[in-house]
Structure formats: structure tokens, C-alpha cells
């Protein structure tokens, strides 16, 4: 009798316990404190932080204000990925472009790209057609190009693993070929590897 009662209680409680342990899918704030942090990869909050820091520095420098016809026109050049993972550098550059556009300090060309490739081929075609019809160049030459590199530096000590991601950007004036602004943001993360497992 007693055994049956205990078993019945256990059977009733078990689903509740198991249900309580299950992770229910839920929304978190992008880049917020609940975001997952991994040591060996760049997380979304890292891109947001790096982009925000470097945009703030670029705007504060006043480099974009020194153009004859504001707002400045920006072309995105090569962003080299020197990390151990495959990344889309637009996760960094797009945030910077959006912030610069919102600041009113710079516009980014989408018809001019590295190696003659346009981000928006249709816009480039229409622009060339308009220039042909008008028989004059309407394309505004970029005042600056934005290039950079993302580097990962790894260190290990026993089970402790550390990754530093360096986000480096240079704003170059094509007229002089000189970098008029340069920024770097480093993000370091540490974590212990599990002693058992893969």
C-alpha cells in the first residue's frame, strides 16, 4: 500500500521536474546580457560593441567633416578575416554604415566596390545608362575608403582558453592615399574547456 503511494507520487512529480528542466525557447535582447558568450568565436554582441566603439571614435575625430561637399561619400574596401572562423564582415561594416548614415556625416556608395563589383548591380547599370544618355559623369568619387582586418589571438593555459578579437579599421583618402583615421577595438574572452568531452 505504502509502496504504491510512493510510486504514484513519484510518477506525478517526475513530469513536473523534467518539464522544469527543459529549456523553453524564448526571445532575448540582441546583444544583451542574456546573449550566449563563446570563447572561440565572434558573437553578435562583439560585432555590435566593436561597431559602436569605432563609429563613435570616427564621428568624434571629425575626419568625415573635412570634405568639400558634405556629407562624405564612403566606399567599402577589403576587410580581411584573420580569425579561425568563417565570418561575414558585413556584420561589422553594415552596422558602421547604418550608424554613419544616421549621423548624417557619410553616405556609402553601393555602385562601386572592390574589383569593380557593385553591391547593387542594377543601380550601377542604371547609373551608367543615365551617364551615357547625359553624356557626362554623374558618379561622385568617394571621399574615403574603409578597409580593415579582424584578427584572432588565442592563448591557452591548462583548461583555461582565451581569445582576443582585434577589429581594425582604416579610413583612407584616395586623393592622398593616406589613412586619415584609424581605429582598433579589442575584445577578449576567457573560458574553461570541459575536462571531459570533445
Amino acid at each position: 500500500m505504502k509502496k504504491t503511494l510512493v510510486l504514484s507520487l513519484l510518477a506525478a512529480v517526475l513530469p513536473l521536474v523534467a518539464g522544469g528542466c527543459a529549456t523553453k525557447a524564448h526571445y532575448v535582447q540582441t546583444g544583451g546580457r542574456e546573449s550566449l558568450v563563446t570563447v572561440n568565436s565572434i558573437n553578435i554582441q562583439d560585432y555590435i560593441q566593436a561597431a559602436d566603439k569605432m563609429t563613435g571614435e570616427l564621428l568624434a575625430s571629425g575626419a568625415l567633416d573635412k570634405v568639400p561637399n558634405p556629407p562624405a561619400v564612403l566606399a567599402i574596401s577589403r576587410i580581411v578575416n584573420n580569425t579561425g572562423q568563417q565570418i561575414d564582415t558585413d556584420l561589422l561594416t553594415k552596422k558602421i554604415r547604418v550608424a554613419l548614415l544616421q549621423s548624417g556625416k557619410a553616405l556609402t556608395t553601393t555602385t562601386m566596390g572592390l574589383g569593380g563589383t557593385a553591391e547593387d548591380p542594377m543601380a550601377k547599370g542604371l547609373q551608367q545608362e543615365a551617364e551615357f544618355k547625359a553624356d557626362q559623369q554623374t558618379t561622385r568619387t568617394p571621399d574615403f575608403t574603409l578597409s580593415g582586418k579582424i584578427i584572432q589571438t588565442i592563448a591557452r593555459d591548462g583548461n583555461l582558453s582565451q581569445s582576443t578579437f582585434s577589429f581594425q579599421l582604416s579610413l583612407t583618402s584616395p586623393k592622398s592615399g593616406l589613412a586619415v583615421w584609424e581605429g582598433e577595438k579589442e575584445i577578449t574572452k576567457q573560458g574553461e574547456k570541459p575536462s571531459v568531452g570533445f
Partner: protein, 138 residues
Amino acid sequence: MKTQILLPLAGAALLAVAGCRTSMNTVENAQKEGQRQMISDSRVITDSSLAKKVSFVGLNQSMTPGGLLKVQLELLNRKGSLQRFSYRFEWFDANGMQITEVASPTVPDQIEGGESKFISAVAPNPACKDFRVKFIED
């Protein structure tokens, strides 16, 4: 016999406490060339524990060459151990409306024991006139 057990325990506890306490010493030029444009602030403290550990010393602002508001906040760790926190800037236009076009990140940060530290931010556009900084303990 009891003392023999308690003494090593007390020693270990002392070492553990001392290991966590690292306070920072600083030195700076006494005659300052720069003049900070200090501004008055309004505070809402809901975590008194964090406020006791990391306090707001002062707030100053300036304008960038391009006419953007730049804000700097001085923090002081009143404790003798490292404190971790996250902060986030929010910006408002002349009508008090929050500027949400540009995502403001939650920045994880830390401050050593006894350290005085500055955090700063530049407004995302010239329309930003006011700001708010949110802090939470990690």
C-alpha cells in the same frame, strides 16, 4: 587539538580574502590644463548594493568638431575588489523622444578595487540632446 584545526583554517581564509582584494593606486598631475564642463545629474538607484560598490563621481560633456554631443562619466569603485557591471547609453532628441535608429550596445565592463574610471560615448547624430546611462551588476 581544536586550535590545531582552527589555525590552518583561519590562515586559509585570510589568504583567500587577501587574494580577492586588489586595490589600485593612482597618481596624476595636480595642476590641470584641461577644464571639464561638469553637468548636474539626476539618478534613480534601484540596486543600492551596486551603487555602494561602484559610485558615480561626475558627469561632463563636450561637443565633437562635427557638432555631436560627447558624454563622459567618472566611476569609482569604493570596494577593494574587482567589480563587474554592464552599461548602456540611451539618447533622446529635443522633444524627449528616444533615438532608436542606431542600436546602442550593452557593454560589459569591469573596474578594479579603488579604481577611478571613465566611460564615454558619442551621440549617434546631431539631433541628440539628452542621454541616460543604465547600469546593472554582472
